[in-house]
Symmetry: C2
Amino acid sequence: MNHTPLPPTLPDTDRTRHRRLRDQGSLERAALDAVLDAGFLCHLGVVVDGHPMVVPTVYGTDHRNLYLHGSVAGRSLIASPRATVCVTVTHVDGLVLARSVFEHGVNYRSAMIYGVPRPVTDPEEKLEGLRLLTEQAAPGQWDHARRPNRRELAATVLLALSLEEASVKTRSGGPDDGDGPDAALGIWAGVLPLLSTWGAPETDPLLPPGIEVPDHVESREGTRLG
Amino acid sequence: MNHTPLPPTLPDTDRTRHRRLRDQGSLERAALDAVLDAGFLCHLGVVVDGHPMVVPTVYGTDHRNLYLHGSVAGRSLIASPRATVCVTVTHVDGLVLARSVFEHGVNYRSAMIYGVPRPVTDPEEKLEGLRLLTEQAAPGQWDHARRPNRRELAATVLLALSLEEASVKTRSGGPDDGDGPDAALGIWAGVLPLLSTWGAPETDPLLPPGIEVPDHVESREGTRLG
């Protein structure tokens, strides 16, 4: 593994430069890490036969690489193994309900990562990538569940996408039309927050009685994602 | 507007055929409508300079068309106005925590729509598309907020994507390793649900006192999205 410190600022490329709404854009690596840490699902964009295909999939990260299950991108990768992909991670924080429809919007945090994914073939990195992927969604499960055996490891296609070319966009706060002419309309305006919360664990009915919900799962009930 | 009844089954094309996990796939139009009705955010995939770009954006629908704000896709549409896009809508319902790491997964509902978006130029359709887009995220806001004026309408780029070529994938229920050899391990397994809930409305601090939160906003607090 590479342990060289990463520069705190991401490169400004044609793809990551913010063309619209510049005030919402960031190329800070810390902002990217924060968006990635807050979730576990991404949308992977690939080009298949010249057309885009966008697939939801889970990810894990060590903040240098994004690890992705290769299966969902399989079609595309077989067709063009050196092709660029775009991975987007989005958290919706709420609706911005302005005085005018035109100023309505969404509070969100989003990251877009571009790169050519590398198939992970080294068994040690593959195991570590799967650990990161598992722990991203379900912290504690790697030590709790049965880990992949040699056969399962061989059957798993894991991809690593370097976190070199990426950008972050966010919007937060209230509506923007509170100091314009529409303020005189007397129309209620504000934000309706959207919260992602873990629910009560549902035990598999096939489980024999007497096996308790483990702490690392039970303790998440009622906590927020993101 | 076209009022011809739509066939209940979506066409089986190279792009919508389910190649993996066939049991999770559906080409029923009712399944597509249900996924679209359950949310308001999609990930729009476009090809820019031969590379994919995946952008989060809001949508509205009359179940024939998906209406999208053109601004986010602007770069791509200017470059190639007749290009195919892929729009993906995903709802995450929970984590599937199996006995083995290999069987871990996500419960979700997802729709993928392919097509060439059409810029909406007719003012009546544009207004109706914006109404659908607004009401999808915030029911009641169209009648509450100030509607777009002529200038705002002209400044808005709205796209319509026909819901002709689409597919749905879902996963629900518990882990799949409850009747295999791993069942003997005595490891807890089940589902950890993830819930999206609307929070308490936050009034814009710039609003003068005495303007109450309207019913159509206040009544959403504590209700589920999706």
